[in-house]
């Protein structure tokens, strides 16, 4: 809904669309030719440091398996790029894994944005006592990254209802149900090898909720009152006023979340054993089998490098394309 379509009272208070000005602070006007030269030299070496490894990966990805393993090594670009890409793509069934990664990444993006938005809405625009406790419950999860709770989280993914079962058993409710109806209560929801299992544990988001809360707190009271005067309920207000206003927020969050969703490694590694649900990042693991030896045969570094280029590409494209929102979002979520 555009502003013009909104009922009168609301549209009067909505802030005018912000004009996009490119704030560019000019460098100081100084005549320091040598210092400038040194600055460029340092920055270019920095770029080389960051791009150098990618060049080497690319060069390897263009070579044949003999070229990539020959001694003395050959670090120049050869002509077998597409062969290696297609070998990586087809021999490893990258297509379905790419689709899986895309499903997980978009599931994580959408899930996190929706969850962050509605949770923040529920604790900012309603007057109840649990506002701060809920916010802190969500916020404290920042201190519990997956890595420190992998084993039990895996157990939960094997049966997502086990916490409830345990509570019912412990409080005696299961026993009561069994005594009354003769039904043995056994709740089970296995999430291993499913998209739900891949996505659901990742969509809780302390940073996203925080970002949305900060944004919602800047919404003027008058806007809420105007919406109420127009007869809009909370959900209508959320959909027609807040969601459009938070578009920048969403773009910023979406970029960060896409990168983190696409790059998930440990979680899919744990809960996916079925090749049909494998994601690309995990597939990289098995390209050069044993880390401590070069394995039995000649390692196919060329194919492995082509594959890792393929995996790197989508998030890089997103970050570069969404640079402005991405930087802003990253900085405001981590503050």
């Amino acid at each position: 809904m555009t502003q013009a379509e909104l009922p009168l009272a609301t549209s009067e208070i909505l802030p005018a669309p912000r004009r996009r000005t490119r704030r560019r602070r000019p460098g100081l006007v100084e005549n320091t030719p040598w210092m400038n030269l040194a600055t460029h030299a340092i920055l270019i070496s920095g770029l080389l440091l960051l791009l150098g490894p990618i060049y080497l990966v690319f060069a390897a990805a263009t070579q044949t398996v003999q070229e990539v393993n020959q001694i003395p090594p050959n670090l120049s670009i050869s002509s077998h790029f597409w062969e290696n890409i297609s070998e990586a793509w087809f021999s490893r069934d990258f297509q379905s894994k790419f689709i899986n990664s895309a499903i997980v990444a978009s599931g994580v993006v959408i899930g996190k944005i929706v969850i962050a938005c509605i949770t923040a809405f529920g604790i900012v625009f309603f007057d109840h006592r649990l506002r701060m406790p809920i916010f802190w419950l969500v916020f404290i999860t920042l201190m519990l990254p997956l890595e420190v709770r992998i084993v039990p989280t895996y157990a939960v993914a094997a049966n997502a209802l086990s916490p409830f079962q345990a509570i019912l058993d412990w409080t005696g409710v299961s026993w009561l149900i069994n005594a009354v109806s003769g039904v043995e209560l056994a709740l089970e929801w296995n999430m291993l090898n499913t998209y739900t299992g891949l996505i659901m544990p990742l969509i809780a988001t302390a940073t996203g909720t925080f970002l949305y809360r900060q944004f919602f707190l800047t919404i003027p009271d008058e806007l809420v009152e105007a919406a109420k005067m127009d007869g809009a309920g909370p959900l209508r207000f959320l959909r027609d006023v807040l969601v459009p206003l938070s578009a920048t927020n969403m773009a910023a969050l979406a970029t960060i979340m896409f990168v983190s969703g696409w790059n998930q490694f440990l979680w899919p590694l744990l809960i996916i054993t079925d090749p049909a649900h494998e994601v690309v990042a995990v597939e990289l693991r098995s390209l050069i089998p044993n880390a401590n030896t070069t394995g039995g045969g000649i390692p196919k570094w060329n194919v492995a490098m082509a594959a890792s280029l393929l995996v790197m590409l989508p998030p890089i494209v997103v970050v570069v394309a969404m640079q402005r929102w991405f930087v802003r979002g990253l900085i405001s979520t981590e503050k």
Binding site: P145, E147, A291, W301
Partner: protein
């Protein structure tokens, strides 16, 4: 403080419920389980659990392999943090001079943020491989001088470089933002007083960047404890001879390959305490963050 609210608290409850359910099931429950398992003798896949008290912790703390993994984690944390922050700081200071090509430089420093840890791991494993790629040159000139497959500290150096490379972009973004929030007038005034570029960096920009610096320092250390899994797993598998067996990797190996749930849980609890302490430190600094404006 907000004065205008919606009245229907049932809607509020329905809106916050999904996230609360998810964090209960996937965060708080597993965390409490980790604590519980670390205090009991947990059988893989069910069976009884007998109370163990602090048995597992005592066992861990007297286990030289555990201390060895703590030691390598600290080396990794120090290495990636110093290297990743140092380079990012230098780059941010010079990019902030905003000479010609500023935008290009900035994108050039930001994109590595997007690269997945396993992809970085695999790439650097190739680059540092003793028999293919760049290091094969080195090995040809000086026969067999580099071998991360057999030599512990070579492997450590390799994962530190990969880890630092991964963090540069992130650190850079924050350093640059920190530098840009320093009031322009300060720098101009100082330039008018005749200070050069380096002098301004040393006496104005670096001191004013201290809050950002501490903030990033804590994030880098925390990250090196938790986020290092992908790199270790794709590059060294913790070897050779456990030289890169970081704490987070050891939890994975003991828990999922060794099926020693109690010990893995106890290790998780220790790591969790570490992360919580670091996060507290971080919040304290955030509160003190803005001391100029």
């Amino acid at each position: 403080m907000r004065r205008a609210y919606f009245k229907n608290n049932w809607i509020a409850a329905a809106l916050v419920l999904p996230q609360l359910l998810i964090i209960f099931v996937f965060f708080y429950w597993p965390t409490s389980q980790a604590v519980f398992w670390s205090l009991t003798f947990e059988q893989p896949w069910g069976g009884g659990n007998d109370w163990a008290g602090l048995h597992h912790f005592r066992e861990l703390l007297s286990d030289s392999l555990y201390w060895q993994s703590v030691r390598v984690s600290l080396v990794y944390a120090a290495g990636t943090t110093v290297l990743g922050m140092g380079l990012a700081l230098i780059l941010a200071l010079f990019v902030d001079r905003q000479l010609r090509g500023y935008r290009q430089y900035r994108v050039g420093m930001i994109w590595p943020y997007a690269v997945a840890a396993p992809a970085i791991g695999l790439a650097f494993r190739y680059i540092f491989n003793p028999t293919a790629g760049v290091m094969a040159y080195v090995n040809q000139v000086w026969d067999g001088i580099w071998d991360p497959i057999l030599t512990g500290w070579h492997a450590m150096a390799m994962i530190v470089i990969a880890g630092a490379w991964k963090n540069i972009a992130y650190n850079f973004i924050f350093f640059l933002a920190g530098l840009q929030s320093i009031p322009r007038s300060l720098i101009e005034a100082s330039a008018m007083d005749g200070s050069g570029v380096m002098r301004r960096m040393r006496d104005i920009q670096l001191p004013l960047l201290t809050p950002t610096f501490f903030f990033i320092l804590v994030i880098n250390i925390t990250d090196s404890f938790t986020d290092s899994f992908g790199i270790v797993d794709t590059m060294t598998n913790g070897g050779p001879a456990r030289a890169t067996n970081l704490m987070v990797y050891k939890i994975y190996v003991d828990g999922f390959e060794g099926q020693n749930y109690s010990s893995a849980a106890a290790q998780s609890v220790i790591l969790m305490v570490l992360v919580i302490l670091l996060t507290f430190v971080q919040f304290r600094y955030i509160e003190r963050r803005v001391h100029y404006s």
